[in-house]
């Protein structure tokens, strides 16, 4: 197995980086940090988030994220060490707008466009009901990648169990347009002529009639009209979905898995990895965020202080703090705090061991980012995380 390239090679060579992982592990921070790293290496980068909460806006200090990329001002980029040829933009995907834009582009005629945009089913399809978000996200990534305004797009995917739906979104769109039920709704006569289709057709029509009865007059009519109006666009859609798929699973895209050190998070990460690997996604690396790490690299956490050692520590406290200070209590508290800290370090290392082993076996790069003393909510914090992800030496930020 050829080992995956190191993170900086990915940042220099890919067009799309997809960050996947469960919620609560700081995936948006990691995505933005990777974006910043690439910009510092002289690339023009866009960080795209499709998370419903405006986290990236918080992290990047950008108040209004619309469906248009917002570029960080030059003086800010200078301060962050981004060279003149580099650039960093961010954007929060507006699902409805993206879908509307697609309809505008592919509708056969202004009448067809208005029919679709005014159809009640469409309004709810595109109205942030679960499901359409993933189509829109992949579509936008493709569009932006095609425009070539950016050298690299970093995609931050939605959290939790829906996170991998977008992988299947183009497939699902194609499957949907080709599905026999859609064909039946569109072309009952044509579909009926197909071999072996009659039985299904009779059954389906009965169920559809029941659905009509259950769902109320007009509901199925709205669906049929929606599909008919869409049909004229479906060639354009189909073609595009194929190209989106080619980009997503092609050599220009790499997937990164972000995880946290909690047992639950590691379990989720393992199942994500299985899904990614069983698809054709090119996994490149695993980043574990918010790990408790020992502050002095190379030193093992020691808490083997015996009574004599504790006595020695108490004496040192008595000397430095003077009379009236309970040096004994301070020594005890130090030992207790150290044990507490060492337990966290050991627990995290133990929890992530299976992921680490998988990374080693599959040749993925492996990075642990320590749990920091404070939250990352500004660009300097992001720059710090960026250097940790890339494994650079800690950089001084002015």
């Amino acid at each position: 197995m050829t080992p995956a390239p190191a993170p900086h090679v990915l940042l220099d060579s890919r067009r799309v980086l997809v960050c996947v992982g469960t919620g609560g592990v700081g995936k948006t921070t990691i995505s933005a940090a990777l974006g910043l790293s690439a910009a510092r290496r002289g690339r023009r980068v866009l960080v795209l988030t499709i998370d419903p909460a405006k986290r990236l806006a918080d992290a990047l200090g950008i108040r209004e994220l619309g469906n248009e990329p917002q570029t960080l001002p030059r003086d800010v980029l200078d301060r962050l060490g981004v060279p003149p040829e580099g650039e960093l933009s961010a954007m929060m995907l507006d699902m409805k707008r993206t879908f509307d834009d697609l309809v505008e582009r592919f509708a056969e005629s202004p009448e067809a466009r208005d029919r679709i945009l005014g159809n009640p089913i469409y309004q709810h399809v595109s109205d942030a009901l679960a499901g359409s978000a993933e189509y829109s996200a992949m579509e936008k990534v493709y569009e932006l990648a095609e425009q070539k305004d950016f050298d690299l797009i970093v995609l931050d995917t939605p959290p939790s169990q829906h996170a991998l739906d977008f992988l299947e979104a183009p497939e699902r769109l194609l499957g949907f347009l080709d599905s026999r039920v859609v064909q039946l709704l569109l072309h009952p006569a044509f579909a009926a002529g197909r071999m072996g289709f009659r039985l299904f057709q009779r059954g389906a029509q009965r169920v559809l009639r029941t659905l009509e009865k259950v769902s109320g007059v007009g509901f199925l009519q709205d669906i049929s009209e929606f599909l008919l109006a869409f049909e004229g666009m479906s060639e354009g859609f189909r073609d595009r979905a194929h190209r989106v798929q080619a980009l997503l699973f092609g050599p220009e895209t790499a997937f990164l898995l972000a995880a946290g050190p909690a047992r639950e998070s590691v379990r989720h990460a393992e199942s994500f990895l299985e899904r990614l690997e069983s698809g054709r996604a090119g996994v490149a690396g695993i980043v574990v965020n918010r790990m408790h790490l020992w502050p002095d690299a190379g030193l093992e956490p020691g808490d083997g202080a015996d009574a004599a050692a504790l006595e020695k520590l108490a004496e040192a406290f008595a000397l430095s703090e003077g009379a009236g200070f309970d040096a004994r209590a301070a020594a005890e508290a130090t030992r207790a705090a150290l044990r507490g800290y060492a337990a966290l370090v050991e627990r995290d290392a133990e929890n992530v061991a299976p992921l680490r082993e998988r990374a080693r076996a599959s040749g993925y790069f492996w990075r642990c980012v320590p749990l920091l003393d404070r939250d990352v909510h500004d660009l300097d914090g992001l720059a710090h995380v960026a250097s940790l992800v890339l494994g650079e030496a800690e950089r001084e930020t002015p």
Partner: protein, 328 residues
């Protein structure tokens, strides 16, 4: 002064919908509440809505999956996972007498593709099933379940989940679907019977997201919320009087060598880390209260995670303690 928790306890509802983004420990809260409810003599149903079951394993690591049919895991505690396709099959066969036909059509790949692509129905059918389960009666007419606990999808989708009945009621003009959506809508917006319980962490982004969630709940969805659960709150790392232990460690001579312990600089950094994480934690507990205007129920950090029923009972006590304290 922290806001006082509501007098009415979490167990005195028909339906509690637990929501929170991934990683907040929402599922542990569901399992802990379920155990506490069963121990208090309530007949409780836990309904999970995700693709995988988590609650049964938390209650008993050796238990086989409960599936859509559900199973009583311990006296008074039943768990199920609502799979939308199974719920749809059940719903349609209630409307259509020919069961074989329904299952044949539902198994058809074309029909499944159509349904995979269709938005909204999963949420509606899932809540419809919850409504259906709430109608169950025992012989004699008492409800089959006193309390229904729903483990809702993670926050962003969680609101969509609750908003679908309203959207359907407005999109569909007449007929049984509209009627069913209205019933579900009535159930979840009845402040007397239904409560949404957000679970958050005392960190910046989860805190902000919880504030957004509560605001949207109030403005758009209209489901009652009366407290926020803040999970994994860290205890103070040093005993009283030694709050600045890290600074004192930093004042020790750098060359001090104590056998079995790292040097003072390392000790000071560990201590400083513990102290600042705790300070941050305490700060965001206050921030969540200020941003949402809701009282906070804090749960202790379990350093090893939930290892078994004892840990769930610890969480259960913390969740219900205010009520217990008042009863005493």
């Amino acid at each position: 002064m922290p806001l006082p928790l509501p007098r009415r306890g979490l167990l005195e509802r028909r339906l509690v919908i637990v929501t929170g983004k991934g990683g907040t420990g929402k599922t542990s809260v569901v399992a802990a509440l379920a155990r506490a409810a069963a121990q208090a003599g309530r007949r409780v149903l836990v309904a999970e809505t995700g693709r995988e079951e988590h609650v049964p394993r938390l209650l008993d690591p050796a238990t086989p999956p409960v599936g859509y049919a559900g199973r009583e895991l311990q006296p008074g505690l039943t768990a199920m996972r609502i799979d939308p396709f199974e719920a749809l099959a059940e719903y349609l066969s209630l409307q259509l007498p020919v069961r074989g036909l329904v299952s044949r059509v539902l198994r058809n790949p074309g029909f499944r593709q159509l349904m995979e692509a269709a938005p909204g129905w999963r949420e509606l059918i899932t809540l419809g099933k919850v409504w259906h389960m709430a109608q169950g009666r025992r012989p004699g007419g008492a409800p089959e379940f006193d309390l229904l606990l729903v483990d809702a999808p993670a926050t962003g989708h969680g609101l969509t989940f609750l908003d679908v009945p309203r959207v359907v009621s407005s999109a569909v003009r007449a007929g049984p679907l509209r009627r069913n959506a209205s019933l579900v809508q009535q159930m979840i917006t009845d402040p007397d019977s239904t409560l949404l319980l957000p679970v958050a962490l005392a960190e910046e982004l989860p805190a902000r997201e919880t504030a957004e969630l509560v605001q949207r709940l109030r403005e758009e969805v209209g489901v009652a919320v009366d407290r926020v659960v803040v999970n994994a709150v860290t205890p103070p790392p040093f005993p009283p009087g030694l709050e600045d232990l890290d600074e004192r460690l930093a004042r020790l001579p750098a060359e001090l060598h104590v056998p079995g312990l790292p040097g003072p600089r390392t000790l000071a950094r560990c201590a400083a880390h513990l102290r600042s994480r705790h300070r941050l934690n305490a700060h965001y507990v206050g921030a969540i209260e200020a941003w949402t205007g809701l009282p906070i129920c804090t749960l202790p950090l379990l350093p090893q995670g939930v290892r078994g029923p004892e840990d769930l009972d610890r969480l259960g006590t913390a969740l219900l303690e205010p009520a217990a304290a008042e009863a005493a």
